[in-house]
Structure formats: structure tokens, C-alpha cells
Symmetry: C2
Subunit: 234 residues, 2 copies
């Protein structure tokens, strides 16, 4: 019974972990691996081995293990029966499930955002849309901005559990390949959809916000499926 230690509550605290972990090697490994996956440098299906990563980054296996476990729980790495640990690979069914979930969560976030966001947060969304229009040429910039815009909505919903789930789902999106926002035609459409979404939130219209968000996700899904499974005509 761990409770036996008497000085339990009074004793020192240790490690205001946030600060510490920021600079920790474990965190460093985590960022590196995550970046490698997000940037597509590590393709789905590729094996990931503790020893290799450790050798790569000149570290011991301990922090590497930490990072790997974290990515595993986030769904970016997975165990495959006869292949050990690999970068997660999504089959068609998983992709469909992912988008169903994303549509629901983004819809919920938009709805809650319309109800709970502060006026400043709502205004900031409108500003972001405005700025987005001016990024026209810069594909990378648009993609980055897109991410920020959605994260702002997630925060505006003021629900930390929703935020976490959304983060998990959107992380898994990286496994599908490069963001569609890098494509000019998708970017243009998306900006219009963002404008509609932000407007609905600013008007405090939950129903409109939810359906705008859902439509936005569905549009992305259609485009994505066309690229992932072109054989299906669709």
C-alpha cells in the first residue's frame, strides 16, 4: 500500500513537469519522430525500432521508449502481428471511420464554439479568415494557417476532452499523406468554407456552425478519397 508513506502530501514536489519535459530528451525524441511521420519521411508500414532510433539520435533507449509509447497510444505507431512496431497504416475502413469521427467532432466543436466562444475569440476567427485570403500563393502558409484556424475553433469550444479527441483524430490524418490544403484548388474552396464557418460562429448560430463544419469535413473527405482510392471512380 503506497499510502504508507507518511510525508506524502507535504513533501517536496519535484519537477514542475511541464517545464522540465519541454527540454527533456524524451520530448525531443517525441518531436523528432512525430515530425518524421508528419512530414511523410517515414511511410506507413515502415518498421520502427528502439535501438535504431536511439542510435540515430545518439541517446539511450530509455527516452526513446517513452516517446514511442506515447506515439503508440496516439495511434501513430502500431504493433503489427508479424512485423513488430510500425508506423500506423490505415486501411480503407479505418479512413472512413476516421472521417466519420472527424465530421462529428468538428461539428460539435463548431456548435460549442458558437455558444461558448468569447467575443474576442469569435472576432479572431473572422480576422483569421481575412488574413487567409491574402496568403493566396503560399501553399505552405495556407496549410499552416488552416491548422491554426481549426485549432482556434477547438479551443473556442472550451471543452478540454473534445479538444483532446480532436487532436488525436487530426494527428491520425497525417498518416493519409500531405494535407490537401497544399493543393491550390482545395485551398480556394476551403477558404470559402472557412468564411462561412467563422461567420456562423460569429453570428452565434450553432446549427449553422455545425453544418458548415460538417460540410467542410465532408468536402475534404471527398477530395481525400479521390486521391487515396482513385480506382473507385466516385
Amino acid at each position: 500500500m503506497p499510502k504508507t508513506s507518511t510525508a506524502l502530501r507535504t513533501r517536496t514536489a519535484k519537477t514542475e513537469s511541464e517545464a522540465l519535459r519541454h527540454g527533456s530528451r524524451s520530448e525531443h525524441v517525441y518531436r523528432k519522430l512525430r515530425h518524421a511521420i508528419e512530414a511523410g519521411e517515414w511511410a506507413p508500414g515502415q518498421r520502427v525500432m528502439e535501438v535504431e532510433v536511439a542510435a540515430w539520435l545518439n541517446l539511450s533507449r530509455t527516452p526513446v521508449r517513452d516517446a514511442i509509447r506515447r506515439l503508440e497510444r496516439e495511434g501513430l505507431l502500431q504493433h503489427e502481428p508479424h512485423n513488430g512496431l510500425i508506423v500506423a497504416r490505415l486501411d480503407r475502413q479505418a479512413v472512413m471511420e476516421l472521417y466519420v469521427m472527424r465530421e462529428a467532432l468538428e461539428g460539435m466543436a463548431a456548435r460549442l464554439c458558437a455558444r461558448h466562444a468569447s467575443d474576442i475569440e469569435a472576432q479572431s476567427l473572422l480576422d483569421m479568415v481575412e488574413r487567409e485570403r491574402n496568403l493566396d500563393g503560399d501553399a505552405e502558409g495556407v496549410a499552416r494557417h488552416n491548422r491554426r484556424f481549426h485549432e482556434a475553433i477547438h479551443r473556442g469550444a472550451h471543452n478540454r476532452y473534445l479538444e483532446k479527441s480532436l487532436a488525436a483524430v487530426n494527428d491520425s490524418m497525417w498518416l493519409l499523406g500531405k494535407p490537401l490544403m497544399l493543393l491550390p484548388e482545395r485551398a480556394q474552396t476551403a477558404v470559402r468554407e472557412h468564411a462561412e464557418l467563422a461567420a456562423a460562429i460569429a453570428c452565434r448560430d450553432p446549427d449553422a456552425a455545425e453544418s458548415a463544419a460538417r460540410a467542410h469535413v465532408r468536402a475534404a473527405q471527398r477530395e481525400r478519397l479521390r486521391r487515396l482510392f482513385p480506382e473507385n471512380g466516385d
Copy 2:
């Protein structure tokens, strides 16, 4: 660049991890800790230290760390600025957010279950309700059965991302104290609500299923808030 290792894909597999981890000490620690939290033996706010847990279970810190990290990511443990790692403590706001999220996810699961569950799965839900009626006296049994019933719905939705999110949210529920199902009056009402929910699913009526699930969660929430914050009259 970890890719440099040539024999990457062809080389041996290692550890069909599922099997291995089942018996691993890490897994053992995880279960123990989780059970301690679920059973309320460790109250929210209580400090958790690697060394203590390791001493308690007669293990080294390594597997303990693993388990702790996992629980941390699941939200059952959390870092508190001047207190180190503690069993997560939910403030009122967090409780509200948790229930909002739970209502949405359970609603979604019910809706998807009505659409996607196989006939066998749907029938099985009806059977479970029937069996539940006969557990009348056995509070523990009812609580266990309740859990299974909901998990069956989650599975029936056939969406692994939804399932994972629901598991996370429901795990956090344990931090609020004992399940309400242990209370006879709540159990009785819940059985009726379950019947309605299962019926809606069996009828393949997504709208009815979703609203039944949402109503069920809201009823639980009302009861819970009454117990957690009696001062608010409500």
C-alpha cells in the same frame, strides 16, 4: 536516418506484442494502478510516485514508469504544478465538460449502432436488457452489467476512433467516485432507459437511439451533480 538499416522489412519480427504485453510486468502495474483508482482506493489529488509504486509491487521503476505514463495520457493521472504527479482531480468545470462530451459521444455511438450493428449485435442488446431486469438485488452485478451493455453499443457502432474516445471519457468518470448504478433507485431508472435505447437500436431508428442515449447520459449527469455539488440545490 534510421532508414539506413538495410534489412529493415525482411528482418525478424519480434514479440507479437499483444501476447507478450499481456503478461508483462508493465501491464500488471497498469492494471493494478488502474484498479486502485477505479475502486476509489486512491483518491483524486493523492500523489503517485514511481519509487513508491515500485516498492509496493516489488518491481523496478522501469515498468512502473511505463504504466504511469500510460495512465497520464489517459487522463487518470496528471501533473499538478507544485505537487508533482497526482491522481487526477476534476474541478466542476471539468465535470461539466466531461458530461457534455460523453452525451455527444454516447449519442453518436447509439446512432451509429442503429445503423451499423449486425442483427446479432442488436439482438444481443435486447437480451442484455432482459437479463438486466433479473439482477434486481445485486448492485455490483448491475453496475458490471451496465458497463458491458454500454461497451456493446460502443462496439456495435463499428468505429474504432469513437470507441477509443468513449473509453477515455468513461475512464475519467471513475474519478467522480463510485458508479451511480450502485444506487438502487438510479439502477431502476437506468434499466428502463436501457430498454428504450436497445429498442431504438433494434428498430434501426438512429434518431430515437441518439436521443435515448443522450437522455440517459443527462439523467446520469443530473444525479451525479446532485451528489457532487449538493450545495447548488439544482
